[in-house]
Amino acid sequence: MKFGVLQFPGSCDEVDALEAARRVADAELIWHANRDLKGADAIVVPGGFSYGDYLRAGAIARFAPAMEAVIEFAREGGLVLGICNGFQVLCEARLLPGALLPNSNRRFTFRQVQLEVLNSGGAFTRTCALGERLSIPAKHSWGRYHADERTLRAMDESGQIVLRYAEGENFNGSLHDIAGVSNEAGNVFGLMPHPEHAVDVSVGGSADGLKIFNSMRMAA
C-alpha cells in the first residue's frame, strides 16, 4: 500500500506526513506541478502555508495540477486525507463541505488537544473506538470550522462529523466543536489537528495520530 503526499510551494508539514505514512506503508512525495499520483492508494494533502496562504488559505492550491488529479481520484472513490492547510485546500476544492475561518481566539495556537471520535466506522478512524479520545497537536491561526445550519444538520445525520474537540479544547471557535469531517461518501476526510505530529510517544507523548494512517492503510 502506498501513500502519496502532496507538496506545494509553502507546505511545511509534508515531510512529517511522509515519515508518519512510512511507519505503516510506502509513501512518496508528489510535487504540486505533477498530475501523476504515482500509483498512490491514498493521498495526503499536508499542513503548511501553500502558496503563502495568499488570497485565502488553500484558495490557490486547489487549482494545482496535482490537485486536479486528486479531485478526479476522489471522485472515483480514492482515499484523501487533508491535514490543516490540506483541510483548507479540500474545502476550497469543494471535496469537503464548509470553510475554515480565523480562530475566534485571534491567535495562532499550537498545543496538544484532546479529540473525541464521533464516527469510528469509516476509512480514517476504523482503528479507533467510538468515543475514544485522541491526543493530537493543533497548530493553526485559521481553523474555525464553519458551515450553514442546514449543511451541519445533514452532515450530522450522515455521520460526516468524525472528530470533535473535547470539552474545553475548542480554542478556534469551530461550530459544534467540529475538528474533522468527511464527505458524504466517506472517502475524503479533513481535520485541523496534525496526526503526523503524533506518531511517537517520545515526541509529544502521543502516538494517537498513527491510528488515522493505520485506518487508511487497512481501508485502501
Partner: protein, 73 residues
C-alpha cells in the same frame, strides 16, 4: 477597464480581525466605533467585464463565507 472587487465576511459570521481592530481604536482615542469588519480588496485590469463575476465565484472570494462587490471604473 479597471475592476475593483471588495470582499467582505458575510454578516452573522464572527469576524475576529474586525473585532481586533474595534478593540484597538479606543486605545488610540477613537470612541463610538462599532461593527468593524475587515475584508479584502482585489483590483485588476480586464478586457472582458463579464469575466469578473465568475472570477469572484471561482477564486477571488469564497461565496460560502464571503460577499463581494464589483465596481468598474
Amino acid at each position: 477597464m479597471r475592476a475593483r472587487v471588495l470582499i467582505r465576511p458575510k454578516r452573522g459570521i464572527l469576524d475576529p480581525q474586525g473585532e481586533a481592530v474595534q478593540r484597538a481604536l479606543p486605545a488610540l482615542g477613537f470612541e463610538g466605533v462599532a461593527n468593524v469588519n475587515v475584508g479584502r480588496l482585489v483590483e485588476l485590469d480586464v478586457e472582458d467585464a463579464a469575466q469578473v463575476e465568475p472570477m469572484c465565484e471561482k477564486l477571488l472570494a469564497n461565496p460560502l463565507v464571503e460577499d463581494y462587490e464589483i465596481v468598474f471604473e
